[in-house]
Symmetry: C2
Subunit: 129 residues, 2 copies
DNA sequence: TCGTCATTTCCATGATCCTTGAATGATCGG
DNA sequence: CCGATCATTCAAGGATCATGGAAATGACGA
């Protein structure tokens, strides 16, 4: 759940390349179903060999998963890996500094996507302050 | 407040290098006061010229700020830049996907560092469900 | 088994990055 | 103004990475 420094370095390196960042975006919107390697190659507009290189890079970095489905290989976003990277950035890297985490949590709440159930119930029923 | 794709690429690239990641960590714990370039060089154990190279890289990427103080140049973590990167990772990159944001917000809440005031009051006083 | 399709691996080229010592700048005390 | 201090810039080396065509692999259908 929590990333080692080396894992974080690999993940940051993987995301620091335009083609790979676009691939991650495309696969996140594609959802847990994912999409075949060829479709990713078409989506980002690179030849198959380049796509394969970058997809392998992202998978090594723990940002994607892959599974074979008959003749195709389906790549999908690794949501756990992505959230672990967010967690690393906030906690390990930034020591949970409020100036970093608060705006992030704010942004997150504004997107109304992700307030954790534990926090909601704890706040609605404050047993232990 | 929100990062362009190019800015995010630069920031990820900046954090994908061990020396630079250690520099950011050191400067985050150093607080808003920051520390002189020489102290950062000593903290991460690299010669002055390497330190200067990496500090400039991090500043270009929007992760650090610098100011001159007599003979020294003080570097400090750019908390706004760091939180913007977290925001980019959650929203632009991952489309605010709950599977990414929820665990992150969870982690954040567990560290009890950063629940935004807006969310707390809104939950304590639910006017519009 | 053969041919086809989807993907990966191989390989060579070019680009980018990291490192360090030496040179250059900027600032202050005397 | 001079020397000392703290930091950046320059230049050259070595390392790593990105690209894309060609060949190889693996899976499927006829």
């Amino acid at each position: 759940m929590t990333l080692s420094e080396q894992q974080a370095l690999d993940a940051f390196g993987a995301l620091s390349q335009e083609t790979r960042l676009r691939m991650v975006k495309a696969l996140v919107v594609a959802g847990p179903e994912g999409m075949p390697a060829g479709a990713v190659a078409d989506a980002v507009g690179v030849p198959a060999s380049s796509a394969s290189f970058h997809l392998a890079h992202l998978e090594r970095a723990g940002l994607l998963t892959s599974r074979r489905e008959s003749r195709s290989i389906i790549y999908a976003a690794d949501y756990a890996g992505l959230s672990a990277l967010v967690g690393f950035l906030m906690l390990d890297c930034c020591q949970g500094h409020p100036a970093v985490c608060a705006p992030a949590a704010d942004t997150c709440a504004a997107a109304s996507c992700c307030l954790p159930a534990e926090v909601v119930t704890e706040l609605a029923d404050p047993v232990n302050p």
